[in-house]
């Protein structure tokens, strides 16, 4: 297997240094094979971060392979600097059995561009009626630790309580899609001044906040871990902050698009801006940025949701909800947090270390010697415009088309294999399906 010497990278933004890679691990540069067997990468001006971990993606396979496959999703992840992505359960069939999660897990290993970790459904068929076989999924080859009905809220409070309790068996975590269903029937966009004018049925902030409030109280009561997906409102931030101050084991996630875009964009009626939870107001965006900077929000999750053109090239009300985001996540977060005290160490914390810790993705989040060589190099001074047509994902529903960003992802090392080199995808990891076993 190849050896690499990454020379002169600014490690975590904390100072220049060399990183050596051998046999899929980060090693002391002294240990590289004598005689120059290692490929030297001049990384001067680049910043090295631990490979990014995404707690929230939709890879669409099985079932909607025309929108994305595990392979194209994995390539998109690698291009975005992600060495580990979690694939949500709302596939067809739903990932609610050991069989389906193992299939997704295996497809990820065959693809070989990133570590694909399936998320199991909380309830059978995402129907919110009966617990899925959480234990079987946890004990399967996929080793599922995160469970979510994402796309649909686990609305039944008793079922939510049981799920929170049950996953303690294997230190699992429930990732809640907080959306009170009755308050959001037919909802098309954020309920606010813009929806009032456009006459589009509103999705009120309280529909998210009321579920989060309930669930942090439940998590406190049963002493379980709770993760809140895609927090989108200032009120949600307040509730999470309050819960953390009481010692509730809650973690919260925000998407790059909720840090950057507002519901004013809906005035265009372009469905590329249609997403769930919906784009909120500028006050919400400011509160989310603040919360990410002060640690109230723990992680970035992309909620990467590719759709085929026919589901987006339609009228607003008929269009599917969702945006792609893995390939633009890091540059967008950098732009969104530009005015905050938020350095590259913080970026590594919210996009790699903390999501790795929450999900138990042990091979990720560290640049220490001895750690698995999951590394991303970024160029912080590479201004360019976002062109969705050039992305590896099949989804073209990227809301940032045309936006100029300063940061480019240049290289991704996935268990020691350079899957992205100078911004171009290379080859899958050569170890086939067994790279983590070494």
């Amino acid at each position: 297997m190849s050896e690499y010497l990454i020379r002169g990278a600014n490690i975590l933004g904390g100072g220049a240094g060399d990183i050596a890679i051998r046999d899929g691990r980060i090693v002391d540069p002294e240990l590289l094979t004598a005689g120059g067997g290692a490929e030297v990468i001049d990384a001067e001006g680049l910043i090295a971060l631990p490979g990014l971990v995404d707690m929230h993606t939709h890879l669409r396979e099985p079932g909607k392979e025309d929108a994305e496959t595990v392979l194209t999703g994995s390539q998109s992840a690698a291009a975005g600097g992600f060495t580990c992505v979690h694939a949500m359960a709302n596939t067809a069939p739903v990932a609610d059995t050991a069989g389906v999660v193992e299939q997704v897990h295996r497809l990820g290993r065959e693809a070989g561009y990133t570590e694909v970790v399936p998320i199991g459904a909380v309830t059978i068929g995402l129907e919110g009626k009966q617990l899925a076989e959480l234990g079987a999924m946890a004990r399967s080859a996929a080793r599922v630790r995160v469970f979510s009905d994402d796309g649909i809220c686990v609305w039944d409070p008793l079922l939510m309580r049981r799920a929170l309790e049950y996953v303690k068996t294997f230190d699992g975590v429930i990732a809640q899609h907080a959306q009170e269903p009755r308050l959001t029937e037919g909802a098309q966009m954020n309920e606010g001044v813009v929806s009032a004018e456009l006459g589009l049925p509103g999705w009120p902030a309280v529909a998210e906040e009321s579920i989060i409030a309930r669930d942090v109280l439940l998590a406190e009561h049963v002493g379980s871990r709770l993760h809140i997906c895609h927090v989108s409102t200032a009120g949600s931030v307040d509730i999470v902050r309050w819960a953390k101050s009481r010692g509730v084991q809650v973690t919260a996630e925000v998407t790059p698009h909720h840090l950057m875009l507002t519901d004013e964009l809906v005035r265009t009626f372009d469905p590329v801006y249609k997403v769930n939870p919906p784009l909120r107001t500028d006050a919400d965006v400011q509160a989310l940025r603040e919360a990410l900077a002060d640690g109230t929000i723990d992680v970035i999750g992309t909620d990467h949701a590719p759709h085929t053109a026919e589901h987006k090239c339609s009228e607003w009300t008929a269009a599917a909800m969702g945006m792609v985001g893995m390939e633009t996540a890091l540059p967008i977060v950098v732009e969104a947090m530009a005015d905050h005290d938020f350095d590259h160490g913080d970026l590594a914390r919210v996009m790699s270390q903390t999501p790795a810790r929450i999900t138990g993705a042990s091979g990720h989040g560290s640049l220490e010697i001895g750690a698995s060589a999951n590394i991303v190099l970024i160029d912080p001074n590479a201004p360019h415009r976002i062109v969705p047509g050039e992305h590896a994902t099949k989804g073209r529903n990227n809301p940032f088309a045309g936006l100029e960003v300063s940061t480019r992802i240049t290289d991704t090392f996935f268990y020691g294999h350079r899957v992205l080199a100078d911004g171009r995808l290379t080859t899958p990891h050569p170890a086939g399906a067994s790279w983590t076993d070494q």
Binding site: E197, G199, P204, F269, E315, W316
Partner: protein, 326 residues
């Protein structure tokens, strides 16, 4: 002006100009030869994804009086119900040689989307989209009101009509289901732009969240509003019966008692208050028969003026080059 998608982006001058052209069109409609050669050889397509015979007929009459050919496309029984995409539908129709699209759709924003996707390059006229806007209805309401408040016959040909005028200072109340009404939204923007003082009277459940930011005065209590303000006109909105099953109000009886234009409320109105309704009416629910049939209603005038106003809109959008310098 390339499209007519809403009244929110219509300037006062543009609105008054459209109303003035409509005055000319009303004169034409009173002639023996009720036709103008303006759109000879051009095709107007009525693209109705949602049924509305009244609005479609009004647009059809308007286009025909301007000598246009009219194609009617109704989504019912068409390939749209078989899953054809909006893009394919519109491009197919465009390939048949449409010079303008009149679009009615149940989803807010669809005409706006058609105007801005690049699928087609012809003027788009919004004939009602979801609960967003219905700009020609608001224009015909303003036309009717401008006539009535100026002391002119509310419809028909008037030689020296109120050209150049707005509705400055007129106190107009819109009553009923504001939340679900595209007519209300279009009227709020247009009436305010024309200088009217707009009041909304509705139960809080039927007002949109954030309505406080609109240029209006809000009233929950109909009787109190009538007591406080001498309205120049009341625009009653249609309330759909289904709303009570969605808990917007307890039942029809209570709605009617609190927000309906009953015979008793009619009797308390000043003599000169006009009554309007975009139709179709639910007699005995939001409006009593006494009110609907009283001599102060402008309801049939509204219908008649609809043709003149739509002729004006077609004329405005289909003649002249936008980029012509002169």
């Amino acid at each position: 002006m390339k499209h007519l998608l809403d009244t929110a982006s219509l300037s006062r001058a543009e609105a008054i100009s459209l109303l003035d052209i409509a005055e000319e069109m009303a004169l034409v409609s009173a002639r023996e030869v009720k036709k103008l050669p303006v759109l000879r050889g051009r095709t107007v397509v009525n693209l109705f994804f949602e049924d509305s015979t009244r609005t479609r007929l009004s647009f059809e009459a308007a286009a025909k009086r301007l000598s246009a050919d009219v194609l009617n496309f109704s989504a019912k029984g068409s390939s749209v119900s078989k899953g054809e995409s909006l893009q394919d539908t519109v491009q197919t129709i465009s390939a048949m040689g449409a010079d303008a699209l009149v679009v009615r759709h149940s989803g807010s924003g669809t005409p706006h989307r058609l105007a801005h996707t690049g699928w087609i390059d012809v003027p788009v006229i919004n004939a009602g989209d979801g609960t967003h806007e219905h700009p020609t209805q608001a224009l015909l309401d303003a036309f009717t009101l401008r006539r009535a408040l100026g002391g002119f016959p509310a419809s028909g040909a008037v030689k020296d009509g109120p050209r150049g005028q707005g509705l400055d200072g007129a106190k107009v109340a819109i009553v009923g289901d504001i939340l679900h009404s595209r007519v209300a939204r279009s009227n709020v923007h247009l009436l305010a732009r024309l200088g009217a003082e707009v009041h909304l009277i509705a139960p809080p459940t039927l007002l949109p969240w954030g309505v406080e930011t609109w240029p209006v005065t809000l009233h929950y209590d109909f009787d109190e509003a009538l007591h406080q303000v001498d309205f120049a006109a009341l625009m009653m909105l249609r309330v759909q019966h289904e709303r009570m099953h969605e808990s917007f109000f307890p039942n029809e009886r209570e709605y009617s008692r609190l927000w309906g234009l009953s015979a008793a409320r009619l009797a308390r109105l000043p003599r000169e208050t006009f009554i309007m309704h975009p139709g179709p009416m639910n007699r005995g629910f939001e409006i009593s028969a006494a009110a609907a049939d009283s001599d102060r209603t402008l309801i049939l005038d509204q219908v008649e003026n609809g043709v003149s106003v739509r002729m004006a809109v077609l004329y405005r959008l289909l003649t002249g080059q936008e980029d012509h310098n002169e």
